[in-house]
């Protein structure tokens, strides 16, 4: 009777979106409820069968099956095979845990939060059931506001930074730009140019045929090199050309290369 559960359903053409199941735990709870079985004593063979049938159905419909569903399928099969092993009775003291125990704990815990979430949604929600004055009162608007930091979350800060980066250039902070060159790569290129030429004109590092991405990468590489004190930037006269020179190398600073910390910092922005 249960075998054709889902196929029957298809024939009945009851349409429902795949989102019906939040995940494998949700699906399992659904099957347990539908079959009216005791969650503490799940008939694992029957439930596994139905679970796999559902997976089969998804496949037939050419739907992508989330990895979590497959992992659970494997878990169910493993539990099923362990259930078939004879329980060794000789050692009464060390009780062998039921193969289903871990799964049942997870299901119970999940069910608990499911219930908690339905308790939440029936509360008097602000903006749905109850309303407050969520606008600046005219009394306040008439007064001079004084800016003081308070109402800002960490997430706002990260979001602000993300927006800046996306505005500057999508690829600027990507390790690989359109030219397939990262800031780190460009840093070493600029350094080797400087090794040979000792002094180069800033403008000569930016040529016409370079893409915008490469221009930006080059610029950031130079900034990074300044920060690492590996190069010096000199402008002889106001509005005159800018020259780059390798920083003094006597103390071996150059050999040390970019500071590991700084590179890590950089890594944080690379998507």
């Amino acid at each position: 009777m249960q075998e054709n559960l889902f196929h029957e359903a298809m024939e009945n053409a009851y349409l429902v979106q795949i989102e019906q199941f939040e995940g494998p735990l949700d699906l399992l709870l659904h099957l347990i409820k539908k079959n009216e079985v005791d969650i503490y004593n799940i008939p694992i063979a029957a439930i596994t069968k139905q679970y796999l049938e559902y997976m089969e159905l998804l496949k037939e419909l050419n739907l992508d099956i989330a990895g979590e569903f497959l992992v659970m399928a494997a878990t169910l099969l493993q539990i099923k095979s362990r259930m078939l092993l004879p329980v060794e009775r000789e050692d009464e003291e060390s009780e062998v845990e039921d193969p289903r125990a871990e799964l049942v704990r997870r299901l119970l815990e999940y069910q608990r939060y499911r219930e908690a979430s339905s308790d939440l949604v029936v509360r008097n929600l602000l903006g749905r059931d109850v309303f407050a004055r969520k606008f600046p009162s005219p009394e306040l608007a008439e007064m001079e506001p004084e800016e003081e930091p308070a109402d800002v979350q960490l997430f706002d800060l990260i979001e602000a930074f993300r927006k800046i980066l996306s505005r500057v250039s999508v690829d600027t902070f990507h390790s690989v730009g359109a030219d397939g060159i990262s800031i780190a790569d460009r840093i070493s290129q600029v350094l080797s140019i400087l090794h040979e030429a000792k002094t180069v004109c800033f403008d000569s590092l930016f040529t016409e045929e370079m893409t915008r991405d490469l221009l930006v990468v080059t610029f950031l590489s130079i900034l990074e090199l300044c920060k690492l004190k590996l190069i010096k930037i000199v402008q002889v006269e106001s509005l005159g050309s800018i020259w780059l020179t390798a920083a003094a190398t006597d103390d071996g600073a150059e050999a040390a290369g970019p500071d590991a910390d700084d590179l890590e910092l950089e890594g944080a922005f690379v998507g």
Binding site: E22, G23, P24, L25, D26, D38, I39, Y40, N41, P43, I44, A66, E68, M72, M83, V87, E95, E97, D98, R100, A101, V104, R105, R106, L108, E109, Y110, R112, Y113, R114, E115, A116, S117, S118, D119, L120, V121, R123, N124, L125, L126, G127, R128, D129, V130, F131, A132, R133, K134, F135, P136, S137, E139, L140, Q153, L154, F155, E159
Partner: protein, 194 residues
Amino acid sequence: MSGKSLKAIVESLIFVHDHPLSLDRLALILEEYERADIRIALEDLMEDYAHSDRGVVLVQVGGGYQLRTRPEHADYIRRLNKTKGVKFSQSSLETLAIVAYRQPVTRAEIEYLRGVDSGGVLKSLLEKKLLKILGKKDVPGKPLIYGTSREFLELFDLKDLSSLPTLKEIQELAPPDPFADQPALPLAEEPPAA
């Protein structure tokens, strides 16, 4: 009639503020008044609102006091605002519930409990400001830890986190079923009373 009573002052401050106003904040603003007197004024005000048949009630929510409309008037106000109000997906609600009860909590813990990837829903709840990043957990990998925000309390009409409804206890041991075709689970952490 003078309106210069402390109770009236407190009422006007709560009225004009667009978020719940805490006793601490009131005490800071009304520096010439004793904190104890402000507290009494608040209690009086709560009492007044509770015993009136007015359209507005004073509630304790999100760590402060706020004036809100009555739930039974929601329908009329929706007509005015032309909004249907917030709607949550099951995944958002599950995630909110888990974070609310288990905070500070990591993404991995949430995903273990829900059994599915929860990165997207976490991000969307952060964007809605219902969750916040509390910092990083002091374990290898330093994962981010999450908690609920003041906005969460405000949205769900909660005075504070301790006023969340108690999470249902998980029944630890099932009564053995003599008709079961499989042995009952020895799930109990503690042995059953022998």
